[in-house]
Every structure is written in C-alpha cells, then in structure tokens.
C-alpha cells in the first residue's frame, strides 16, 4: 500500500465531494433558486422603485447569498456522518483540518461560486449601475469563502443533532455579521465614488484569519461530534 500525501488527500476529498454534488444537480440548484427568489422578494415586498433598489441592491444580494449559504450548510457533513465516511475521514492519515479545508473548498465551489456568478444578473435586475458590478463580484469573491469557512464550524458542531438546521443559523449568523458589513460597505463606498481598497483589505484580512483558524475549529468540532 502506498502512502497518500497531504495534497493528494486534499484533492481526493475535493474530487469526491464535487462528484457527489454533481450526481444530484437538483440539490445543487436549490440554494441558487432560493437566492434568486429571496432577492426578488425585495422589489415585491418593499418597493420596485429604482430610488430604493439601486442603493439597497448590494445589501439585498449579500443578505440573500448569506441566507442561501446558510441553507446549504446543514448538508456539508450530514450525509458523511450518516453513512460513516466522516469517521473514516477523522481516522485518515492526513491531518483532519486539511480534509475539512477540502470539503469547505468543494462547498464553496458548489455554492459560493455559483452565487457569485449569478449575482451580476440579479444586481442588474435591481438597477445597480453597471460600473459597480465588478466591485460587487469582487466583494463576493473575497466574502463567500469566509461564509463557507465559518459555516463549517457551525455545521461541524451540529452534525450529530436532529435540530441541526435551525441551530446552525443561531451559531453562525453572529459570526457572519462582520463579513456582511464589510462586503456591503465596499460596494457602497464604490457607489459613493470613494476608494474602497481599505474595506477590501479588511475583508481580505477576515478571509486570511478564517482560512487559517476556521479549519482547525471545525476539525476540533468534528472530532467532538464524531466521538459522541
């Protein structure tokens, strides 16, 4: 038997999770459909006027993508926990946080990235100025990985529980608030014609912090949940 390196283990988990996700395209589409529907509730529920929609658009898109991510988090470890492969992952020779990082990366590829790609269409429907689309996508590009990373901690803590889904939102939403503030702040300062690099740097710092710490916390949480 040959030893499998850390990088190979990472790639194997990403490939496996992507394959599993693409075998069920319906589940893959659910968060996206939710995203589109949640965004379209705002013009219907508050006001279809351009004077409301254009300044609110960044926040609406951000809140909707945050909720859509939240919806998809429960599935991150649950299926693996039910069929026992999560236990195999914790026993694997590779460090668990690397494998968690791989699962989070796969989650971002199947949830965060599609949301990011869909966002300009919705932003145009909300009358966002075309020059701001790039900034909005940039804020989502840096922000959505953080949503997956922090969300993984909540998903790992609740994986063995029946009430998981609701509890995740309670645990994770407070930690999402800074990302939301800086993500929308970036678009708003760009809309006001100001320099947004400072906000982008803050968002990047949050990404760096959660990229280095969240996998460890999620791995520790998984070990606790699995050992139960």
């Amino acid at each position: 038997m040959t030893e499998i390196g850390v990088w190979a283990g990472f790639c194997a988990v990403v490939r496996r999770d992507l394959m599993l996700a693409f075998r069920r395209p319906q589940e893959l589409a659910n968060p996206l459909v939710f995203f589109v529907m949640a965004v379209s509730l705002f013009p219907l529920g508050v006001s279809p006027e351009k004077s409301f929609l254009a300044p609110a658009a960044a926040g609406v898109v951000w809140v909707a993508s945050l909720l859509a991510t939240l919806l998809s988090l429960d599935a991150l470890f649950r299926a693996d926990h039910e069929d026992g492969s999560l236990e195999q992952l914790t026993l694997a020779p590779q460090p668990l946080f690397i494998l968690v990082l791989a699962k989070v990366f796969a989650h971002w590829l199947t949830t965060g990235l599609p949301l990011l790609l869909l966002s300009p269409v919705l932003a145009l429907m909300l009358h966002v100025d075309e020059s701001l689309l790039g900034v909005l996508m940039l804020s989502l590009l840096v922000g959505t990985p953080v949503l997956s990373l922090i969300g993984a901690i909540g998903a790992a803590l609740t994986v063995g529980l029946r009430v998981g889904g609701v509890l995740i939102s309670l645990l994770v939403l407070p930690l999402y608030i800074p990302v939301l503030i800086f993500g929308t702040g970036m678009v708003q300062s760009a809309a006001a014609g100001m320099d947004y690099t400072a906000t982008l740097a803050m968002l990047g710092a949050i990404l760096a912090l959660s990229l280095t710490l969240a996998p460890f916390a999620a791995a520790a949480a998984l070990k606790i949940s699995v050992s139960n």
């Binding site: 509890l167 930690l175 606790i224």
Partner: protein
C-alpha cells in the same frame, strides 16, 4: 511558586473540592454584592453631582457601564474555561462555561437596554446601528448560540466541549467591541474607565461607579458559584460523595 499554582489549579478542577470551598466564597461575594450594590446605587443616583451637559440622565451610567463591562469579562471567562476544557479536559471548566452563559447574556441584555434608555434623551434615539451597539448585539447573539448549543446536545461532556469550541471562536468579537469606539468614531462615546489612566471626571462621579463595578463583579461571582454548585450536584449525583452529602442532610 509554579508548583503551588498547579496544585491550586487542580484542586479547583475537582468538583468535590470546588463544592466545598465555593460555599465560603459565595458567602463573602454575596455579602459584598449586598453591601456594594445598594451603596453604589444610592450614591450614584442620589448624591453624585450632575453632569454639566447631560444633567441627571447621565446617572444611568451607574448601571450601564458595570453591566457592559461584566458582559464582556463574562465572555472572556467562558473563553478561558473553554480553552481549559479543551486542553486539560477539566469537568469544572465545562460547568463554569455552562453556568456563566445565562448570567453573561442577562448582563449583555441589561447593557443594551440601559443603553437604549440612555440613548433616548441624549442621542434622541432608542437604537442606532453604531459599531459599539452592533458589536454588543452580536455578543448577545453569541451568548444565545452557546446556550442553545449547550441545550441541544444531550450528552453533557460533548455539550461542554462543543460549547467550548464555539466560545473560543466567538472571542474574536471581544476586541471588536473593545476598540469599536476608537476604530469607528460614531455615536457612542469612548470608554469611561481605563485601568491605565486617570478618569477625566471628578472623583465624586467615578467613585460610585467603581463601587458599582466591584459590586457587580461580586454579584457575578456569587451567582456563578451558586449556579455551579447546583450544576455539580446534578452532574455528580451518582458519585459517592454527593450521596453521602445528601444522606447527611437527610434529602436522599
């Protein structure tokens, strides 16, 4: 010195030792709170001089600031307990973490509530999405999350360790609260109290505040000990020493 500290640390980690020693501690802390809180309250509310700008409305500071300070230190205590629980697997750390959460949440709510009451006459609004206020609201949500997680997991050891991870993750919020008034100069005024500097208000004004802060800490210690003692008896009810204790008191 180090050996003595280690011994002290391990003794407090034992539920039986904790239960026996905490009675005396909770007694003195309870008396401390019972004396300091009314003294500070009457002194602050009735005798401290009026603020030259805010008049009498500033007096809510004597409730607001101690509650806010305590809500944050309670979270720090929980994070330290969480760290101890994860590293040394101490039962008592789990107990302290679990028992501190509702107290911290109550004080956090009190700080937000008194802040709203204070904000209405001074800022003309009950609530503002100011950085300090929002960060405190997040702290309240974190407390709720920890309490909910602790309640959702049936096995007490798993629940304790899961709550420990969550409280360590949430600790990033504490420096945000602390520095929010300096990073974003918005509505909320900068810190009233600093350990390193002389407060820039007259002694007649800050002395009752100091009394209130110490009194609130006494009350916190008292209720934490009380709750922890209760929790210990509940968790250790099958052990010999608890059975003997209950038999001695004629309750089992």
């Amino acid at each position: 010195m180090w050996e003595a500290f280690k011994q002290w640390f391990h003794r407090w980690g034992s539920p039986k030792w904790f239960y026996e020693r905490s009675l005396m501690w909770s007694f003195w802390l309870g008396w401390g709170a019972l004396i300091l809180l009314p003294v500070g309250m009457v002194w602050g509310l009735a005798f401290a001089p009026q603020d030259y700008q805010q008049g009498n409305s500033f007096r809510i500071i004597y409730l607001h600031v101690p509650a806010a300070i305590l809500a944050q230190s309670c979270y720090m205590i929980m994070a330290v307990a969480g760290f101890v629980s994860l590293v040394w697997r101490m039962k008592m750390a789990d107990v302290v973490l679990k028992c501190a959460a509702p107290i911290g949440a109550s004080f956090c709510f009190l700080a937000l509530f008194t802040g709203a009451v204070w904000g209405k006459p001074t800022w003309g609004t009950w609530w503002e999405w100011d950085a300090r206020l929002t960060a405190m609201l997040i702290l309240l949500f974190l407390y709720f999350g920890i309490i909910a997680l602790e309640a959702a997991i049936e096995d007490k050891i798993t629940a304790g360790r899961a709550a420990a991870v969550l409280s360590l993750v949430g600790v990033v919020n504490i420096p945000i609260i602390k520095y929010s008034v300096e990073w974003w100069r918005t509505l909320h005024q900068p810190a009233t109290f600093k350990l390193t500097e002389k407060p820039d208000m007259p002694v007649e004004m800050w002395a009752p505040l100091l009394v209130m802060v110490i009194g609130v800490y006494c009350f916190f210690g008292y209720s934490l000990f009380l709750r922890s003692r209760n929790e210990i008896i509940e968790r250790e009810r099958r052990t010999l020493w608890v059975r003997e204790l209950l038999a001695k008191e004629g309750k089992a």
